[in-house]
């Protein structure tokens, strides 16, 4: 299977960038994507799995974006990311005024290292690079904290800190940023027994909805044989998301066999895809804010699976209405009703927007940061309201793949689309400023080329300011991620952020390995 694949990673969704990101590792991949959108016909018969995946990556990533808006669980991560940004950026600002010649990264790990572990790390740093002048490496002062102490949520509200010393202010901002990051780590890791069931991770539930949408998009736009190639890959693969998708499919087939008695399972695969969506989207609707760990998509999955294995013959599990099935499952599994969860999500984030407006009013000094956060939060709340309202009034439209994929333009929010080209560049001179904005440019033979560009496929006017805010936030969040946590990012992005931080703070950023 591997030789068919033109690249490992075709795209990603990380709320660091308020949009979706597509990664293309060869000019051929870009050509496949470009040809697919520019020409009505394309080579179907010889398509490799990689080509099929590239031609459907937009639907896959779009589903991630919409689930990010719809799911109260992932919404919690976004709010914590904003908390990390506000507090982390202020800690970064303080860094240059602190004594010490280096800052360990990630700070979340440094804070949990005891003195002997810190000394071992310092020895490793000394071995690699001489400290400046004749001094030793002197990290900025950060207390040793037990891992459990990093988890409580920061108290809501805003605290004036400018009467405290610089060291105290730094430690206050660091601690609140770290609490946010640690909570993100906990939510992202999930609450099920990862050792017993390594595939049971929240991200794999989000993959289940995106893969199912992608499969339906392939079936609709590329053909049955092409869709079967991805199905075969999912059944053959040992990857966590593939294993969990297969389990969702088995549950869906269990229900589907009651809808089509006597039919073989193999013939029901595509008929079962909408049911996979109904099952997997339900798993995303728990509210971490109101239900704590019971909102975890994997725990919801286990409860639902247990219910269905006992009760799959009950006709209420295969109602024609998504809302009826979800109502029944909510009541059978004892979770918060899905409408309550979604209504609370809207209320909570509207309150968050007001709170950030209050923060901006009370902010001393330049308001760039609170303005940035408000701008992003406003867009987030508006996009979320739009899709949640669809979900509340017509859940089939937001869930059933055929209706979702063919929804009229304007039904769902359309995110910014960023393209990352790995190891090659395209001529940027033909970019119309409105169609695509080159993010990183280089000159080759006197012509401007780019390795990364962003587009706004929504067609909406007046989003330039929001795009600026999204890009600026991404850069700041990347700086905070480098400093505080071990969030995944590509080496070039990481190194650019680390160097930027060093330049800004006037201190060496030394990494903990």
């Amino acid at each position: 299977m591997t030789e068919q694949i033109v690249q490992e990673d075709f795209g990603g969704f990380n709320p660091r960038f308020y949009g979706v990101t597509y990664t293309l590792s060869t000019p051929a991949s870009l050509e496949v994507l470009g040809n697919y959108f520019e020409h009505e016909s394309f080579e179907r018969e010889q398509a490799s799995l990689g080509q099929i995946a590239i031609r459907s990556v937009i639907e896959h990533e779009m589903r991630h974006y919409h689930d990010f808006l719809l799911s109260p669980y992932s919404s919690s991560v976004f709010r914590l990311r904003l908390q990390g940004l506000v507090n982390g950026s202020q800690a970064v600002h303080m860094l240059k005024r602190l004594s010490g010649n280096c800052c360990p990264a990630p700070i979340t790990r440094w804070m949990t290292l005891d003195d002997s572990a810190r000394q071992a790390q310092l020895r490793d740093w000394r071995e690699l690079i001489d400290p400046p002048g004749n001094s030793d490496w002197q990290p900025v002062t950060l207390p040793v904290v037990a891992p459990d102490e990093l988890l409580p949520d920061a108290a809501p509200g805003f605290v004036k800190v400018n009467t405290r010393s610089i060291d105290q202010q730094f430690q206050f901002f660091v601690r609140t940023a770290v609490m946010g990051y640690e909570r993100i780590r906990q939510i992202v890791d999930g609450f099920s027994d990862a050792q017993a069931h390594p595939e049971l991770r929240p991200c794999n539930v989000y993959e289940a909805t995106a893969l199912t949408t992608q499969l339906c998009a392939i079936y609709q736009s590329q053909g049955l044989i092409q869709a079967l190639q991805l199905v075969n890959f999912l059944f053959d693969s040992n990857l966590g998301y593939a294993r969990l998708w297969e389990t969702f499919m088995q549950l869906a087939l269990l229900l589907e066999q009651h809808r089509h008695p006597g039919e073989e399972k193999a013939r029901l695969l595509f008929a079962a895809l909408p049911t996979v969506m109904v099952l997997s989207v339900w798993c995303l609707l728990g509210s971490f804010r109101l239900e704590g760990k019971d909102a975890c998509p994997t725990l919801r999955f286990m409860r639902l699976a247990s219910h269905l294995l006992d009760d799959h013959t009950d006709h209420r599990n295969r109602s024609a209405s998504v809302a009826d099935m979800w109502d029944y499952w909510d009541s059978e599994t004892g979770v918060l009703p899905w409408r309550d969860s979604l209504n609370d999500l809207l209320d909570f984030n509207k309150r968050g927007l007001s709170a950030y407006a209050q923060m901006a009013d009370a902010w001393d000094g330049p308001k760039d940061l609170p303005d940035l956060v408000q701008s992003l939060m406003r867009a987030f709340v508006a996009d979320q309201q739009r899709i949640v309202e669809v979900m509340l009034s017509d859940p089939d439209l937001a869930v059933m793949p055929t209706r979702y994929l063919n929804a009229p333009d304007g039904t769902f929010p359309v995110p910014f689309a960023k393209y990352r080209l790995e190891g090659f560049a395209v001529n940027a001179s033909k970019f119309d400023g409105r169609a695509a904005r080159a993010l990183q440019t280089l000159e080759i033979d006197g012509q401007l080329h780019t390795t990364s560009f962003v587009m706004d496929p929504s067609g909406a006017n007046g989003r330039d300011g929001l795009l600026d805010a999204a890009l600026q936030t991404e850069e700041l969040m990347t700086w905070c991620d480098v400093l505080f946590t071990e969030q995944g990012m590509t080496a070039d992005v990481y190194e650019r952020a680390r160097r930027g931080l060093e330049q800004y703070a006037g201190k060496r950023i030394l990494l903990i390995v």
Partner: protein, 110 residues
């Protein structure tokens, strides 16, 4: 020096075996790559090894020895030391000099 290397799980396992056989190096930990925060649509499972090695020359030597295990494919590996991170595409035809050049940023000359 301590170095962490992330790549396709099977390649990391092969690298781990090489490090275990090397008297000057040791494996501190090996396991699935930690970060799952990004929902990346990928077709491969990734793992990370944290190891202590004598220096850049030893890392390069290990990677050259790893080439036969690549089975003709190109593999992307991410490296992290205290000084930074970088990614190398390890192919059959990559040279010792090229590896030194690409990994040099992780271990600056004194």
């Amino acid at each position: 020096m301590r170095i962490s290397i992330t790549g396709e799980a099977s390649v990391i396992e092969a690298l781990s075996a090489l490090i275990a056989d090397d008297p000057d190096s040791s494996v501190e930990s090996i396991g699935p790559a930690k970060d799952k925060s990004e929902l990346a649509f990928a077709f491969g499972d990734i793992a990370t090894i944290v190891s202590t090695v004598a220096g850049l020359a030893k890392v390069v030597e290990l990677l050259i020895n790893l080439k036969p295990a690549l089975d003709g494919k190109t593999q992307k590996l991410s490296f992290r030391t205290a000084l930074g991170v970088t990614t190398v595409e390890l192919s059959q035809d990559i040279t010792l000099e090229e590896l030194h050049r690409q990994l040099g940023t992780l271990v600056p000359a004194r």
